[in-house]
Symmetry: C2
DNA sequence: CAGAAAAGAGAGCAGTGCTCTTGACGAGCG
DNA sequence: CGCTCGTCAAGAGCACTGCTCTCTTTTCTG
C-alpha cells in the first residue's frame, strides 16, 4: 500500500516535479478518498521524506554499481561521476529533490542522512584506496578547519589533510556541474554536455592526484 | 506600485521561501483586493521573474563591487568567491531561486539571461586578465567540445582551451560549494563553513593557475 | 462468534492562483 | 459642456490544495 503510493508519487514527481505533487491526485489515481491517504502518510512531508530516502538509496546503489574493484582510482572516480550524472539526467526531478533547493517548510529528518551518506562513501573509498599525494603546492589548511577535516577523514581513512580538502572541493564540483546542467545554467552555452562533463571530471581527477 | 509589490514579495521570500510566496498575502499586506494585484503581475511566474532578475542583478553588483583593479588574480578570484557566498548566506532563499532547482512549471524567460551573465563576466575578466598557463598535464579537450569552448571564450578572450575548461570546472565548484552549504549537505559535517570554503577556493585558485 | 482495531468515506475548513464581471474615476475629444 | 473610453480596483466565483473530524465499513483476533 505504502509502496503503491510512493510508486504513483514517483511517476507524478517525474512528470511534474516536486511542487506538482498532490496527495489528492495520488488518492484519485488509486480510487481512494483523499482523506484515506493520510493514514499512510500523515503529511505531505512524510511522503517527501520517503521519496528522498528512496532517491538517495537508488543513487547510492548506482554509485556502488559503477565501481569495479580492480580499476585504477582515476577510472573509478570517473565512473562514479558518470553514475551520478546519469542518475540526474534520467530522473531530474528526483535529483532536484535530493540536491536542489530544499522544499520550503520541509525539514529533512535524521532518517535521510544515512542513505545520503552512501554515495559519499563510494567517493571516500576511492580516495582512501588511492591515498593520493597531490603533486603541487597547495596552501596548508588553516587550523580552524582541522576538526572538520578530521570528521571527514572518517569516510576516507588514511588520507592526508590536503587530499581530504581537495576531495571535498572536487565533490562539490561534481554536484555543481550536474546541478548547473540540470537547472539550466548551461543553456545556450554548452551543447555537448556529456563530453564537457567527462572532460571536467578527468581534469578534477588530476587535481585530486589520482 | 510594481516596486512596492516586489519589495513586499522579497520580504516574504526572505521569510518563507519561494513556495511560501502568495499573491493574495501580498495584496492583503497592501490593503488591496487579491484580484487587483494581477493587473501588475498577471501571473505568479511574472512576479518570480521579476524577483529573479533583481536577484541576478544584486548578485552581479556584489560580484563587481568585490573587484579591485590592481589586485592580483588569485585575490580577485577569492574576493569573487566570497562575494557569491556572502550573498547566498545573507539571502538564502533568493540564492535558491537563482541557482537551486527551478520552480516547477516555471520557464525562465530570455530576460533573465543577461543579468545572470553579469556575475559570470566578472569571473571571465579575472581569468582573461591573468591568462593563466596552468602548471601541469591536463588531458587535451576532446574535439567535440571545441565549439563549446569557443563560445565560452567569448567571456574570457585570449585564454587557452585548457584554462577555459578549468575555469568552468572551478566555476561549478564554487556554486557547488555554496549550494551544498546552503542546502544542508554540510550539516553535521562541516562546522567552520567560511574557513573551509575559503580554503577550498584558494585551492581552486591554484588549480586555475592563478 | 463477538468485540476490538484498523481502514476507508465524506463533509468541511482555510488557503491558493486565476478569471470574469462590475463599478468608480479621470483624460481626451466632438 | 457632455460623452466616450481606457485605467484601476473590487467582489464573487471556480477549481484546486493539505489537513481534520466524524462516521461507517471491513478485517483481524481472542
Amino acid at each position: 500500500m505504502v509502496r503503491e503510493i510512493t510508486d504513483i508519487a514517483r511517476t507524478h514527481l517525474a512528470r511534474e516535479g516536486a511542487a506538482g505533487l498532490s496527495l489528492r491526485a495520488i488518492a484519485r489515481e488509486m480510487g481512494m478518498a483523499s482523506s484515506a491517504i493520510h493514514r499512510y502518510f500523515p503529511t505531505k512531508d512524510d511522503l517527501l521524506t520517503a521519496l528522498i530516502i528512496d532517491g538517495y538509496t537508488a543513487l547510492g546503489e548506482a554509485a556502488e554499481a559503477s565501481q569495479r574493484a580492480g580499476d585504477p582510482p582515476a577510472e573509478r572516480w570517473l565512473a562514479l561521476c558518470h553514475a551520478v550524472r546519469d542518475f540526474a539526467v534520467a530522473r531530474p526531478h528526483e535529483y532536484a529533490l535530493l540536491y536542489g533547493s530544499p522544499v520550503p517548510g520541509y525539514q529533512a529528518p535524521a532518517d535521510t542522512v544515512a542513505p545520503a551518506l552512501r554515495t559519499t562513501l563510494v567517493c571516500g573509498r576511492i580516495i582512501s584506496d588511492a591515498r593520493p599525494t597531490p603533486p603541487d603546492l597547495a596552501p596548508p589548511p588553516p587550523a580552524a578547519i582541522g576538526p572538520d577535516i578530521e570528521a571527514i577523514r572518517a569516510v576516507m581513512p588514511g588520507v592526508s589533510d590536503d587530499a581530504v580538502t581537495r576531495a571535498v572541493t572536487a565533490w562539490t564540483a561534481l554536484f555543481g556541474a550536474v546541478s548547473f546542467e540540470l537547472f539550466g545554467q548551461f543553456d545556450n552555452t554548452i551543447t555537448h554536455r556529456r563530453e564537457f562533463f567527462d572532460h571536467g571530471m578527468r581534469s578534477l581527477a588530476r587535481y585530486l592526484g589520482l
